[in-house]
Symmetry: C2
Subunit: 324 residues, 2 copies
DNA sequence: CATTAAAATGACAACGTTACCAATATCTGC
DNA sequence: GCAGATATTGGTAACGTTGTCATTTTAATG
């Protein structure tokens, strides 16, 4: 900055003001400084700026995993808002591990981010305090059932489960099964299953059987689990899946095994991923607004100074697929 | 830090040394400081540290998009290495736009990252200079055909195209078509198509027809394009796709239309995504090591101090699918 | 136990910005 | 043309660390 200042024949502070276009700068001076800055290809050092300001243009984003299209969509949504504002996401992955999550949050907070986005509402004791100490806005995503630290954007997973149960019941399915995976790692999926089971019981057609694989969700696991579940309980006429990867696997199994879908076996996924719309029989699914969730999270973060903390239910919808 | 120092009855610098476990600290002092730090729940301010050190624990990662499973896998691979080292990715998305990419790179560099990972080898004039000015390592991913700024990890897309052409030719296909999308946005895919076409010509069975949709790649677009291409050139006995989303769409179209795959129509995708392994007929595809690419990129970045710049060809393999 | 080497601790000045206040130039209205 | 207001510029001191060097303490040696 010193070099730019002396080349332009002005003080450093003026260079600073020009670079972040602060008010009350004459056009003459601005032009002179810009020219000098360009000729030296000077870029302001944000680290120094952040140190002085006690805040930065970074947003800490803590997600459980990147190998799940749900979270990459969410991140995409977040970035779509941040990038336009000249903000940047610093990423931390918890891998569904609370210890690790704490460590990651601590490290990210040490960068004085201007805000933080967390996944889920489960955050325990030291975390809310740490964030409050910095006085930055927090948005928690995915779930809205619980007590958020700050704002929250997501859907009600128990509502979604009830919606699924009612939908399948309305369609006439009476012997319903459930398939999950990865030991129900995102604990939201467990809550969803429990609400689903409870609703089915209320409807008088309790869950017939279920399989929760220990492996990570994938179409392959979905296919295998479906075969296994149908062997274990042949009377099943419909399966609700923890996510679309599993459901697609189920659909592929049915197609291969010549099982009539949705007549002989109904299939309902969760999330509504794009590929499910193109399968020979389009997958029925509970569509969740993942990209939108990211966008809203980022927007809430940016506006929380004026608007304070909010809870935003983005709600789901049941897709017009043909498998259930 | 001052508070911790006075609580522990030591100097600030000693606190600093304990926090980043520098050598030559007695156990007694370390314990005392740690206790004080914990009781005040003190976290070092990395911004200040980075300013002093002129380098941080951030790694700038510039990708074209997050709505493509290729890049989320790559990012996953990058994070899997970084997180273990206490490093963090700061993300920038170019949206396949060179202007935007330049802006993003500039902003990320102003954070004094300890390294930067870029996508592709196309980076023009100001960029190499800007990076060199900081003296930090660069790794470019996806492609290795060209002149990298620093290190590069990826595959040879022309080799992959040649491999695809040879494979299909060996299988007896003679009337081959091609389907791409999104105006061949990642320019690598165009290079790949051209190499594919050239090889087919050399083999004496030039490309029969192709469709490059302007829409973003998706199974839906793949399905539509496949129908359109077959109508346009019914003699086609095989289609090579720019990616697996498109190819899966093609497969779904074939399944719906009752086209015999791979007898009547062969299908070959690109990338080898997981879901293709579970379809009723497993998708044949050129498998690319996306996760591994991210891992290697991060590793190269970390080791480039000792090992200097390298070019790493991770190579592809043709999957054991059944659609071609 | 003196002497020297090594280990442990501390003081101070940066790192590159920007907030705060002071100083100067420019513009009003009468 | 002048006081007073306003717009524009500059000076100085932080922000919270850490590298360098100085100082103190501890250990090692004969």
């Amino acid at each position: 900055m010193k070099d730019v200042a002396s080349l332009a024949g002005v003080s450093e502070i003026s260079v600073s003001r020009v670079m972040r276009n602060a008010p009350n700068i004459s056009k003459k001076l601005r032009d002179r400084v810009m020219e000098a800055a360009n000729s030296l290809s000077y870029t302001p050092n944000r680290v120094a700026g952040a140190l002085k300001n006690q805040s930065s243009n970074l947003v800490a984003v803590v997600l459980p995993s990147m190998s799940n299209e749900v979270f990459s969509s969410v991140l995409d949504g977040i970035e779509s808002v941040l990038n336009d504002q000249g903000l940047h996401a610093v990423l931390g992955l918890s891998e569904y591990d609370t210890e690790r999550e704490l460590k990651v949050i601590r490290e990210l907070l040490s960068w004085s981010p201007m805000g933080i986005i967390l996944t889920g509402l489960h955050h325990q004791d030291p975390i809310p305090g740490m964030i409050e100490q910095l006085g930055i806005p927090v948005v928690q995503i995915m779930d809205i059932e619980g007590t958020p630290i700050g704002s929250a954007v997501g859907i009600s997973h128990s509502d979604a489960a009830i919606g699924a149960a009612d939908y399948l019941h309305d369609k006439g399915y009476r012997k319903i099964g459930y398939i999950g995976a990865w030991s129900e790692k995102p604990e939201r999926s467990k809550a969803r299953r429990l609400a689903f089971e409870a609703r089915l019981s209320d409807l008088g057609t309790p869950l017939v059987a279920s399989i929760i694989s220990e492996e990570r969700s994938s179409a392959t696991v979905g296919s295998q689990s479906t075969a296994a579940l149908l062997q274990q309980a042949p009377e099943i006429d419909c399966i609700f899946y923890a996510n679309d990867d599993l459901a697609l696997g189920g659909l592929f199994h049915a197609l291969s095994a010549g099982i009539n879908v949705p007549g002989e076996l109904g299939l309902l996924g969760f999330n509504g991923i794009e590929i499910g719309k193109a399968t020979p029989i389009p997958l029925s699914s509970i569509e969740t607004p993942r990209f939108e969730m990211g966008r809203e999270a980022a927007k809430l973060l940016l506006s929380s100074k004026e608007n304070g903390n909010r809870i935003k239910d983005l709600s789901f919808k049941i897709s017009g697929g043909k498998t259930a």
